[in-house]
Symmetry: C2
Subunit: 211 residues, 2 copies
DNA sequence: TGGCATTCGTAGCAGCCGCTACAATAATCG
DNA sequence: CGATTATTGTAGCGGCTGCTACGAATGCCA
């Protein structure tokens, strides 16, 4: 695989092109985005796009992976690394609120928002999106399971239900961000949802419960 | 407006046609659904469809209204009528779980699922969907406000945040239903989310606060 | 019975879709 | 220098999109 091949060199930066394509898919949606729009945004012609990325589906899948690693890998990692469950969840959800409502970038989540925009017969793209959505639930579940084992949650907590619910909250935050909700609103959703976490029976700080 | 006009009578039932169109939009999504598909499902030709409904947008908007009144009007009304907040919320969310995961009907919510499938330049359809989504949040807010006044919630509860969060949970339930989550999973989400509601401070069983 | 009003099926419009054939261009190789 | 190899822009393919012109069919009303 020669880094510098023999033929005529490519006249555009493939990574920047991928970034541009991501922006188009993000703002317009997978379905509504057209190859012509993608080409215009990148500044190339259709044959160059197809030579570099294959076809529209493959380009979207590559943009999708770029999206995940660029925007979400770090928050998920931080959730896994944080020792305290509640602090970790709060930080993750606040980071999500920032991403979903950023003004530097289209609002809402590429993965959540395109669940409806992709025609039910293009299996590959649909499956890729579904798998990413299920991965979110699995990541929450893993973290909650650990919290259960470490005493951050009571041992009988329904961690699967909690994981599914936080995944639902995340999806809802994406939808409301797309509808124009500002970052503060998303943060209030994040904070409110944290109240779902059941408290561990206190080891017994001598019963002075009064506020 | 004569119920029995003068010209040749219509050869199909307009209401049944609307129901069929709703099913197509529901399963395929607004964007991916084509006029040809709609015609095939109804059993008519394009000119009949355009004569009866106007165009694709108008047909969708009418199907949307039919959807809301048929499936959601009653649960929302029940939420408003139920005296006890928690019982009302639980019943509403369980009803939602049943609708969203029903096997008689496509999974997921027409309003939530089509947020991404409609091209950003067809303003009318997009606005109609957004307004319905915001109406959900407003309905939750109204019910929570009332609960606050009636003592079902503490007076300092952040009802706006709670309303937005329940709306988010509902949107997430729709997404997960579309991804194949069974009714039981959605019900566990519903139950888990109810834990967000803050408990009212007990009216004062003389200060024996220690649990 | 003969208008008249409305809907019907056939057939096809212009326009956009994803995608590609083709020849010219620009680089590395011997 | 050719020869080779890859990318470029032009131009356009077949197919599907939402939508409609048209004349035949079918009902009410006078």
């Amino acid at each position: 695989m020669p880094a510098r091949g023999k033929g005529r060199p490519r006249s555009f930066d493939r990574d920047k092109a991928l970034q541009k394509a991501l922006e188009v898919f993000w703002t317009r949606g997978y379905g509504p985005a057209t190859v012509a729009e993608l080409c215009a945004a990148i500044g190339i012609n259709p044959p160059s796009l197809y030579a570099a990325f294959g076809n529209k589906d493959a380009l979207f899948l590559e943009a999708l992976q770029h999206y995940e690693t660029t925007y979400w890998a770090s928050p998920w990692q931080a959730l896994a690394d944080e020792a305290d469950l509640r602090r970790g969840m709060e930080r993750f959800l606040f980071a999500a609120a920032a991403i979903l409502s950023s003004r530097d970038v289209p609002c809402g989540c590429l993965v959540v928002q395109n669940s409806g925009s992709v025609s039910p017969d293009s299996d590959e793209v649909r499956d890729a999106l579904r798998l990413l959505r299920e991965a979110s639930k699995a990541a929450f579940l893993a973290r909650l399971d650990r919290a259960c084992a470490e005493g951050d949650l009571p041992p009988d907590a329904d961690v699967e239900a909690l994981a599914a619910t936080f995944a639902a909250v995340l999806q809802g935050m994406s939808a409301q961000a797309r509808d124009g909700a500002p970052r503060e609103d998303l943060e209030r959703i994040a904070r409110a949802s944290l109240a779902m976490l059941p408290v561990t029976r206190a080891p017994a700080p001598p019963a002075a419960a009064g506020r």
